[in-house]
């Protein structure tokens, strides 16, 4: 990484010091109001959704209005909110204190790299909150604010309305992807600062609708889209019909089956949104195969019909509430453990938070794959296994019969979703599954994958329609690498294991690399897996002719 900024260079490069308002390059200067631009921000949350969740200060407000209708004592609320969180979260306190502004993170954020807006440098994003912290909570801050020029020296500022607006604008231009933390010599995770930042904004009712409404739906109906149980069931039954047309085999799943071996939970996007629906069909085919061959008993649930957890983008408490539902259902049904579908942030919640939040789930068993005997030690406490680990394990033990030729029309690359990759280190398993199901696979450049993967630009609740410019700009670094493998190797399929990616990346591709299509890993599995008693397939799960068939 010859391009890394040296500390000296960076101090010169990152202009963090507040100057007098007459100095135009003063980024902390809030005498000019932040420009909230259309295309870059998400709409404010509907008051009904905020109310349902019992979150404070539900009201109609508009980010572009001068007046945000804040509670009168909003500064006090924020001050108390920060104080409480400094005591509660050690990481937050440490991250506030230890940044040396070395600049190593500055050019690592996809939003900075795509928008060119300096305030999207992770260090400056964190500085939005850190400047207030210095002013209000440090001894130096209290001392220096009395001296002329002292604030500038320290990099502190007061909690003004303009500072608040800036925080709101830029904390909703961070997808909590953690790429910056990989490059920080101190391991400062700006994602966690954003998480706290958003939590603080929520104290003032400053939620965005693309998060608050799904959370409210999930809380009431069981999934983000607010789909009722019968529609959930209808949808899966419809998939069963399609699969039967294609394979001749009836893959009807179980719902809420008490005493099943495994409860399967996937993000509702897989059930209701293309192209995730084809991945969902892949799951159904896999479970049917395992049932017929090995007698494995998997059940779905219309109650725990959401693996995703937008509560994570709201506050720790909200995340906990939504997460609890999955475990309550596992307990009620008396299954041994939980298998989770291809999702992104769901895994970060499970892997990083669940255990201390709702865990340990000691009413469940340590997950063991009954077919191979593999004990999933990594899930010993959370009792929840990622389907890619599960499938990779089956493939490794030769338990699946796969016909790669059915995916021969796909020249693949793999997008590491931020959360499974950086949040839980799931790097090899999806690749292993892909390579077992298809022949042509090419990696994107090493500085854009695995731990260094570039975010899709739409995570952490920012996959709305109104902020599409932000999303497309944020997706530029990812798309740039996809375009490269498309041009070089003829890659036509971008595989991924996240429901948000399956929703966001087709739009990204359409804008930046229209020749590339998005596909889930278990869609590939579903195409390749040879079901006992199946008829000769002529179509893939999208009902397109199989490779080789069209010429006949």
């Amino acid at each position: 990484m010859a391009d890394e900024l040296t500390p000296d260079e960076a101090l010169d490069k990152i202009d963090y010091r507040p100057r007098s308002s007459s100095e135009p390059r003063n980024w902390l200067d809030t005498t000019k109001s932040v420009q909230i631009r259309p295309g870059m921000y998400c709409y404010a949350a509907k008051p009904e959704s905020v109310e349902t969740l019992g979150l404070p200060y539900a009201r109609e407000w508009n980010p572009t209005d001068e007046d945000w209708k804040l509670p009168e004592n909003w500064q006090e609320i924020l001050h108390e909110g920060i104080k409480e969180r400094l005591e509660r979260f050690r990481t937050f306190k440490i991250f506030m204190d230890i940044c040396v502004r070395c600049g190593a993170c500055a050019d690592k954020c996809h939003f900075f790299l795509g928008t060119g807006d300096p305030k999207n440098m992770p260090v400056l994003r964190a500085e939005l909150l850190r400047s207030i912290y210095r002013n209000d909570f440090t001894f130096a801050g209290k001392l220096l604010k009395k001296i002329p020029g002292g604030k500038r020296l320290l990099g502190s500022r007061e909690m003004s309305l303009e500072a608040l607006k800036e925080m709101w604008y830029y904390f909703f231009q961070c997808t909590e992807c953690r790429r910056c933390s990989v490059f920080c010599p101190y391991g400062i995770d700006t994602a966690e600062i954003t998480i706290i930042g958003r939590e603080l904004l929520n104290l003032l009712g400053l939620n965005i609708d693309w998060i608050a409404t799904p959370v409210s739906n999930c809380y009431q109906t069981g999934n983000h889209l607010g789909i009722q149980p019968h529609a959930f069931k209808d949808m899966l039954e419809f998939f069963v019909e399609d699969i039967e047309d294609i394979t001749g085999v009836d893959c009807t799943p179980e719902f809420q089956k008490k005493g099943a071996d495994i409860l399967f939970i996937t993000p509702s996007g897989d059930v209701f949104a293309d192209p995730g629906t084809y991945t969902c069909q892949g799951y159904l085919i896999l479970f049917k195969y395992l049932k017929d061959k090995y007698g494995l008993d998997v059940t779905w649930s219309t109650y725990a019909s959401e693996g995703g957890n937008f509560g994570f983008f709201t506050s720790h408490e909200t995340m906990k509430r939504l997460n609890a539902k999955m475990y309550a259902e596992a307990k009620r049904l008396g299954v041994k453990w939980i298998l989770g579908g291809e999702c992104g942030h769901m895994w970060r919640v499970i892997n990083q938070y669940m255990d201390t939040m709702n865990g340990p789930a000691d009413f469940l068993e340590v997950p063991v794959n009954p077919i191979t005997g593999t004990r999933f030690e990594n899930a010993a406490s959370t009792k929840m296994v990622h389907i890619c680990e599960f499938t990779a394990d089956l493939i490794k033990h030769g338990k699946l019969e796969l016909d790669k030729s059915r995916n021969a029309n796909r020249v693949l690359t793999f997008h590491d979703s931020c959360n499974p990759a950086r949040g839980m280190g799931l790097l090899e398993e999806p690749r292993y599954c892909i390579k077992a199901c298809a022949d042509e696979f090419y990696e994107m450049p090493p500085n854009t994958i695995r731990e260094q993967t570039f975010c899709c630009g739409s995570g952490a609740g920012l996959n709305a329609g109104e902020n599409i410019e932000l999303r497309m700009a944020g997706a530029l670094p990812r798309a740039n690498a996809v375009k490269y493998v498309h041009n070089k190797f003829g890659v036509n399929s971008l595989a991924t294991i996240c429901a948000i990616d399956r929703a966001a990346l087709p739009t990204m591709c359409e804008y930046w690399v229209p020749e590339v299509d998005v596909i889930g890993v278990h869609e590939l599995v579903g195409n390749a897996l040879i079901l006992p008693g199946e008829k000769e397939r002529t179509e893939d799960l999208r009902m397109e002719p199989l490779p080789g068939v069209e010429e006949e």
Binding site: K13, L225, D274, E469, Y484, Y511
Partner: protein
């Protein structure tokens, strides 16, 4: 004139690249302007490659459409950033001043015309990118959710083909 452009291509490229990158805020321009790995710095990388391609193209025979195509990568980026339309394409005009130092007096009017032609192509492409964005905005959620419902026969009245008809170009 084409010979002069060819001969001075590197000099033109460096100045034009600097002028283009300097349309970003100063703190960003310092990072984006560095010659770093093109995957670590896509704005810088793509901008440089595109300007280079355009400078090569204008020394050959070309149509406005060729120009549009060559300019696409850089315009496509600027169309989703916070530039207003004028500032999104203004970098093309910077070439006029840059060219003055190398283009011979007798050719300068022709050179200006060439840059004007480029600007028109850039504007066309900018509009096309904006249309792409609006269309994506209009069709995205329907494509994601409604198509799945439609296939399942849970909604009937949507004729989504119409909506998507003009999508690809």
């Amino acid at each position: 004139m084409k010979k002069t452009i060819k001969k001075n291509r590197n000099q033109l490229l460096e100045s034009w690249f600097d002028a283009t990158i300097n349309t970003y805020p100063e703190e960003s321009a310092r990072i984006l302007g560095k010659k770093s790995n093109r995957f670590d710095n896509p704005i810088g990388g793509v901008t440089r490659e595109t300007l280079e391609d355009v400078l090569t193209l204008i020394t050959e025979d070309f149509s406005r459409e060729d120009l549009e195509k060559a300019l696409d990568p850089v315009i496509r980026i600027r169309a989703v950033q916070t530039f207003d339309p004028a500032n999104a394409v203004s970098f093309v005009f910077a070439l006029k001043e840059i060219g003055e130092s190398v283009i011979e007096k007798a050719d300068i009017i022709n050179f200006y015309r060439l840059v004007d032609e480029m600007a028109l192509a850039a504007f066309n492409r900018y509009m096309k990118c904006r249309e792409d964005i609006f269309l994506l905005k209009a069709t995205e959620s329907k494509r994601r959710i409604h198509r799945a419902f439609e296939r399942a026969g849970l909604v009937a009245e949507l004729s989504e083909g119409d909506l998507l008809g003009s999508k690809k170009s």
